[in-house]
């Protein structure tokens, strides 16, 4: 129908596959509304406060080294954290730091 070069054909195929794949994901999301790709990505980018080691806490820049030590001491004393708001009890945990923790961490037993 239209004389396409091999490169143009590849480009059309790429765009068609992109569109079809997007439609497929859209249909799947309609059947399973709990499936959120951005939510799954967020889990990869956040640390679990109940399992993270000192190195991971500092590396992720959620805590400074001193704050990480205080948090680990709190976790050792009180056990796994059920909710991030519990961290308000830790001395030196400012509101700004707590917001940062919410942004970069989650809690799971």
């Amino acid at each position: 129908m239209f004389p396409l070069t091999p490169q143009e054909r590849n480009a059309v195929i790429f765009l068609a596959v992109l569109w079809l794949a997007g439609m497929g994901i859209g249909v799947y999301v309609r059947f399973d509304p709990s499936f959120r790709i951005d939510g799954l990505c967020e889990n990869e980018a956040k640390i679990n406060l109940n399992t993270a080691s000192y190195e991971v806490l500092v590396e992720s820049r959620v805590f400074t080294p001193a704050a990480a030590r205080k948090f680990l001491a709190y976790r050792l004393e009180h056990g796994p954290v059920a909710d991030i708001s519990e961290l308000e009890e830790i001395k030196g945990m400012s509101r700004r730091r707590l917001e940062r923790v919410r942004e970069f961490a989650f809690v799971r037993p």
Partner: protein
């Protein structure tokens, strides 16, 4: 020409590591050039004196850019005004960065006034203002506050004084607004294009896509950044030569669709590359790739054969002439050394491993990818070990998988932007696929760093 670039770098390094006076470097420069002209009949002497001239030019340029060598009165003013509340007038000379409820930007000063005096001034100050300011690049503002101490940690004099402003009410706009500049236009274009990404993608995938396409690396969470560093694939999250090459290929391809002639295509692609370079902030890897791509694109209309060695050297000379301190920038070093390693080491690996004799067409791209990755890793492993205290053997294999995936993501990202303008009905589909590809990227990266002995830190 590559040897010229290396000699120029040596001159800059010498100027940075010694207290070479400006006068000495200038005299050597002049004498070497004069000698080269006088002995132009004797090839060996002329070439030796020419390289001495290039070395002295590098040293001279390095001396001029050394912190503490004042071409204006910035250093003296900053030291004298530290801690005193003054009013500063100037222009915003960087794209304002809003993060954690604060706005940061670089300001080019034009004048200041403090209780004792008021005077015209020159220099740049890095401002951090509490609150989100609706200002743009190029706008003229007045700020009331006090400069931080001129000396940073360990008593070193900061190259750029900093100022922390506690309230956005202390920052006022004056003047009729910034004058026209290409950079301002590029930043506005970037905001517009970013808006399209955030309209059709959500959360973390949108931020990673904005970082991959427009260079906003601060949008990437620290954990993602450190995981990518462990696998040696963090270069895909920043604008690099790969993105510039992709933009060049896309522009040429789109123009080819409209049956535009080859020479015109390449001539149009050059300003497009320059615009993309401005748009993404013009970091060392982007500038390097833009100059190298420009050499290759310009070669065809000029009926010359492009040479990758000379293109590399020209890019290095241009970047270092503009800012010699880039030589000590990790991004600059990694960008240029990796390309140099690919240029020289990859052909050797190809010849001595015997992979070029493989007849299977399907395996060839994989083996070539492996060799390119190995060559780049071999060139940069030492620098990364010194700077980041990390050694990552998994880099070679991770790059074979992750680099093609990131190229797919980048293509999908550009398709999303094109769909957002040309066919909005298809844009949500592109957005979902981009999100899925980014999820796959993060999962694959996590798998690689979990392999035994994937990386070592100390």
């Amino acid at each position: 020409m590559p040897f010229c670039a290396v000699v120029f770098c040596a001159g800059i390094w010498l100027a940075a590591k010694t207290f070479l006076p400006f006068f000495c470097a200038g005299v050597v420069c002049f004498l070497a050039l004069s000698g080269a002209v006088i002995w132009r009949g004797n090839n060996r002497v002329m070439i030796a004196l020419f390289f001495l001239f290039v070395f002295a030019m590098g040293a001279l340029r390095g001396v001029c850019a050394r912190p503490g060598v004042l071409l204006g009165n910035q250093g003296r003013d900053a030291a004298r005004l530290a801690g005193r509340v003054c009013t500063f007038w100037g222009k915003i000379s960087s794209d304002p960065l809003i993060r954690n409820g604060r706005t940061g930007f670089v300001m080019d000063l034009s004048a200041y006034a403090c209780p004792e005096s008021a005077r015209v001034s020159r220099g740049t100050v890095y401002m951090v203002v509490d609150g989100e300011l609706p200002f743009e690049f190029g706008e003229e503002i007045a700020v009331r506050g006090a400069l931080c101490s001129a000396r940073g940690p360990a008593g070193r004099i900061n190259r750029m004084p900093r100022m922390r402003v506690a309230s956005s009410a202390l920052v006022k706009k004056y003047g009729a607004g910034g004058s026209f500049s290409f950079k301002r236009l590029a930043f506005k274009l970037r905001s517009c294009l970013e808006g399209r990404i955030f309209a059709y993608m959500h959360g973390l995938p949108a931020r990673i896509m904005a970082a991959m396409l427009f260079g906003k690396k601060y949008l990437i969470p620290p954990l993602v950044n450190s995981d990518m560093m462990k696998s040696g694939t963090v270069h895909i999250l920043v604008i690099s030569g790969f993105h510039v090459t992709l933009v060049a290929c896309l522009v040429v391809f789109v123009l080819k669709l409209f049956r535009v002639g080859r020479r015109v295509r390449f001539c149009i692609a050059l300003p497009c590359l320059a615009a993309y370079c401005l748009l993404t902030g013009g970091s060392a890897p982007v500038l390097r790739a833009t100059v190298m791509s420009a050499v290759f694109l310009a070669a065809y209309p000029l009926r010359r054969d492009p040479d990758i060695h000379n293109a590399w050297a020209l890019a290095a000379l241009i970047l270092l002439s503009l800012n010699p301190q880039e030589l000590f920038n990790l991004g600059f070093q990694l960008s240029f050394v990796s390309v140099l390693a690919i240029i020289y080491v990859y052909p050797l690996l190809k010849r001595y491993t015997g992979f070029e004799k493989l007849k299977l067409r399907l395996i060839r791209p994989i083996t070539e990818g492996f060799l390119v990755s190995l060559a780049a890793w071999a060139g940069t492993a030492g620098i990364i070990a010194c700077a980041c205290r990390m050694f990552s053997p998994v880099t070679v294999i991770a790059n074979i998988v992750i680099v093609p995936l990131s190229s797919l993501i980048t293509l999908a990202g550009f398709s999303l932007i094109a769909a957002a303008f040309l066919c909005p009905a298809a844009a949500p589909c592109c957005g979902r696929v981009c999100e899925l590809l980014l999820l796959v990227l993060l999962k694959v990266n996590a798998l690689f760093i979990k392999l035994p002995h994937a990386y070592f830190t100390w």
